[in-house]
């Protein structure tokens, strides 16, 4: 076999492999995002147990009631108890002490990252925020949030949590 034939066969094989791989990947899969997440959450999980005070700012758009749209809203500080079981890896927030209309769910820890969702019902409206932050230390955590409601609003912003 000639050397050029070997090179051609190798190129065809590589391209074929790439094609087969791309067909099997979920179209929503973002390899770079996952890579970023993995690298940004890198680190050991600090001691998260304790009372954390959360606060933040954001903007709200697409609201049906125009007066709710704003370039900047301020999120008043709120104390949230956080408990992390290192053995089971279970993270518990809020301890259900905010009343029946409020719940914190889907709380997970990935190395130094913390993620959870808050859902609040006010009248016939539901306000939901999804929080994603990275613990800088056992005393400080910061990240971004997205949200929906009330009045079909879409909210984005950033937050900090400190003990």
């Amino acid at each position: 076999m000639k050397r050029s034939t070997h090179i051609l066969a190798l190129v065809v094989a590589v391209l074929g492999g790439i094609s087969a791989l791309s067909c099997s990947i979920d179209p929503d899969f973002d390899a770079f995002d996952d890579l970023f997440q993995s690298s940004s959450c890198a680190g050991t999980t600090p001691d998260l147990n304790g009372i954390w005070e959360i606060s933040g700012t954001g903007k709200r758009t697409e609201c049906r009631d125009d007066f709710l749209n704003t370039d900047k809203f301020i999120m008043s500080s709120l104390e949230i108890p956080m408990a992390y079981d290192e053995v089971t890896g279970e993270l518990t927030l809020g301890d259900n002490n905010f009343g029946a209309g409020f719940e914190i769910k889907n709380a997970v820890i990935d190395q130094a990252c913390v993620e959870f969702t808050t859902v609040e019902r006010v009248g016939d409206q539901t306000i939901e925020y999804r929080w994603k932050g990275k613990a800088q230390s056992g005393q400080f955590l910061e990240g971004d949030f997205t949200g929906t409601g009330p009045s079909a609003c879409a909210a984005t912003g950033n937050f900090t949590m400190s003990k």
């Binding site: 809203f73 008043s76 905010f98 009343g99 209309g101």
Partner: protein
Amino acid sequence: MKVFFQQVLALCVIATAMVFTTTAHAAEPTWAMLNFGVRNITEDDAATFRDLLQTEISKQREVQFVRSNAVCGDKRCAAAEGNKLGAEATVYGSIAALGEKLIVNVEVVDNENETILRSERMSVTKIEELDLVAARLAKAIATNQDVRDTAELGLVTTDESKVETRRQGFGGVAIGVGAMLPVTGYAEVPIGVAIDAAYWYEASKFAIGPRVGLRFQADPKGENNYYEIPVDLGAYFIFGLGDFAPFLGGGAGLRFISDTRRSTILTGNVIQTTHETDLSDSTWGLGTYVRGGVLLFRTYTVRVSLTIDYNVAWVELHDDFGQQSLTMMLNTHF
């Protein structure tokens, strides 16, 4: 013999006819028609008018007349004359020339009770129109109508077709500027500016006129602001004719109010967010006001007035019904 029966039959027919005629006349009331008193017109003209009047009354109602050449100036005299003639009622009156006018008075008196049944008066400037007067008065007497209500095409006199003289007022443009003090509503600002443009029609004791205005926040840098456009019609009673004349009145009309307030918006009970935004509300509605003031230099063509208005706009803005304010203005009337 045959001739005899023919004569008897003829007599019966004549007798029957006489009976029916007598019965018919007996059913009609008898009125006496006296001569009319005259001043500065001829007896012949007055006699012609009397004939016309008698004919017209006979056309309007079933009445038979007996005539007298007597002239009466009051009901007692007329009733006595009518009683002498065996009439139930008596028509009498006068025709007098007063300058260019001919004034016709006609009265009908009940002879038994000496009470006036009808009393009418008309005036014309042309003697040729006395036939119209006769027709109108006859209709009024016969149908018991007011003589003014008997007008119809062909019976309107020259005098009646004239435009009636009216009192003249004094009208002109008025411009006003001043301050507005909101009582409730109006973005809860403490003070505003008021500007009016009006038409002011002034008579000796009253004034009326429409106005359009503009009210707005006095501080252009204020967080809250509003503007109002009143379109009103007002009427005022003026107390006095001198150079210092107080007046009192009011008006009503339409208002457009726009009210913008800087507000803090709160969402959530546990995760609470706050932000500031401008909440705007506006609407059209009914507005009313009462006004007191004083009109200065009233004897001059250009006058000045000082006024205080209490305004209520009957509208709901930001969930508050009834926007109230005081307005103090200095107005110049041209």
